[in-house]
Symmetry: C2
DNA sequence: AGCCATTATACCGAACCGGCATCAAAGCCA
DNA sequence: TGGCTTTGATGCCGGTTCGGTATAATGGCT
């Protein structure tokens, strides 16, 4: 199946006539007949009924016509955007991020960015920390907001530290610990813990493990859901104690910083050789806000 | 530009290597180089930087990769749907309609239809009455809900009368006429009238003209907006008297039927030779509701 | 510096695409 | 009803193009 087939089919389906469509496409009619036949063979479906004088669309043909229109239109639009991007007339910023720790500033940041650079289309992709790294290094994302991962200086990637976050214990508001201003790790020994699944953030998971080890005990992990929100649900249900970064927010729970401080960084990451002005501008905006302390309010 | 180019580019951009991509595509590497070069020439834009050992995407290339993924995915999906439609495993109902007079029943009707035939995808297209006819006759729509137009039996189209609507004068609730239960056309002589633009519904427009002519005067038309809603706005602002079909609803206005009755039909229209089960089912549902009086509540 | 891997170029054969000529079928008209 | 016209399908041919092999050029790595 090639675009040629789609374009030819579209012409025939719109004109409801092979010969008229052929004239419109400036090719001979037999070529059209053959192209449509090829499509029908490949799809194993009749697209056009030709019994009568003027052909009619089958239901399948009607579906295809509709989709074809959208696809060709979309392609046209895409190629136009590519050309304009190459000329620097517009840009695209593909931003990958991890949800919870960016919630505090991301929407504000994007609003400001959109105001300053209205011709840049922003594409958001929420992924796991590792996936963000991988996609940035492959050029699928232009910028990532994520956790550091094990071996990352390897590839031509650069990073900027946005914040060091402390870990907190999350407990119900009526829990005996709820009023504490800090909590030693060793108090968690034996408690049922709820922490993020390792595949959703190896850094976070491992930092917690190491916090416990330093305090001299092995954590009793009860659940490892994939979303921070799910951790909070478990805690609210009284299933155990959640361990979350301090940027987490919750109405019904108390967050108590753990001591000694075990932190996990939030970083911005990008490809070293990026000369995309849209990306440069975003990096600069983040640096500006970081200096002014506006990122964290 | 052909799909081949898009597929090839996608492979290269994903692998970030011509030779690896070539292996994945089971073609030789030079063919790939050529195909990408062709694209770059056609677009007048560099997509991939090849200076270093491993190629990198330019901003334009990144935009194209993103769009390519969506387009190819969409195409895949479309072909799958076409195949399934041909086998009768799923269906598509492309329904064209005019907004205001269908508002009373359309959402209820579609809900019921969706419940009875969950495998049918419904595609809605709101258009002008003429456009609905045209699209049905060309097979772009499977069913139309619209006004009759001048010469329509010509094509192989069939119709079903859903309703004869009277015309009403729309006035503010505090207007002297607001309490009347009917209003003779001739009272409108000299009044500033607000009626729908002719291109949005020649039938409606002409029926109003003929109502005035029969009453022996030429209407003083003040505005002809393209939307019924706009007519209501004008009337609320005290700009004049609106003429609308009785199916119009408004909180702030009074609608007074005009006498002698000048009516405009609402019809369902479809292609005579339609054997699409999804369309058949819809027609039957409408007939059923029409008989039971459920269409108009 | 030399080797290896990767991409670009040159050339060639084969496949494919489109054009022409022709055929079969269906409407249109007298 | 029978010829005329129009439309889509089929067969065949020539030219373009697509992909493969061989090879050159380039850059990274040891």
């Amino acid at each position: 199946m090639e675009l040629r087939h789609l374009r030819y089919f579209q012409a025939v389906a719109e004109e409801l006539s092979f010969s008229r469509a052929a004239r419109r496409l400036r090719i001979a009619q037999p070529a059209l007949s053959r192209a449509v036949q090829e499509m029908e063979r490949e799809l194993g479906a009749q697209l056009i009924e030709r019994e009568r004088r003027s052909p009619r669309l089958t239901p399948a043909g009607a579906v295809l016509l509709h989709e074809t229109g959208l696809i060709l239109e979309r392609l046209d639009d895409a190629l136009r955007r590519v050309r304009r991007t190459a000329k620097g007339e517009e840009g695209e910023l593909r931003l990958g991020y991890i949800g919870p720790p960016t919630r505090m500033f991301l929407s504000r940041l994007l609003k400001e960015y959109g105001k300053r650079y209205p011709r840049v289309t922003v594409i958001l992709e929420e992924r796991t920390p590792e996936r963000v790294w991988e996609m940035v290094s492959k050029g699928r994302l232009s910028i990532g907001l994520t956790r550091p991962v094990l071996a990352h200086e390897v590839l031509g990637l650069q990073t900027l530290l946005l914040r060091e976050e402390k870990f907190c214990a999350a407990v119900p508001k009526d829990h005996p610990w709820a009023r504490l201003t800090s909590l030693p790790w060793k108090k968690l020994a034996g408690e049922p813990l709820i922490i993020l699944a390792r595949r959703e953030g190896a850094g976070s998971h491992d930092a917690i493990q190491s916090g416990c080890q330093t305090a001299g005990f092995a954590p009793r992990v009860k659940h490892t859901p994939s979303l921070i929100g799910t951790i909070l649900q478990y805690v609210e249900a009284g299933t155990g104690i959640g361990i979350v970064p301090e940027s987490t927010t919750s109405k019904h729970l108390a967050l108590i910083p753990l001591k000694p401080q075990q932190t996990i960084p939030l970083v911005m990451v990008w490809a070293k050789e990026g000369d995309d002005p849209a990306v440069l501008a975003f990096r600069d905006l983040v640096k500006e806000w970081l200096k002014a302390g506006e990122l964290w309010g």
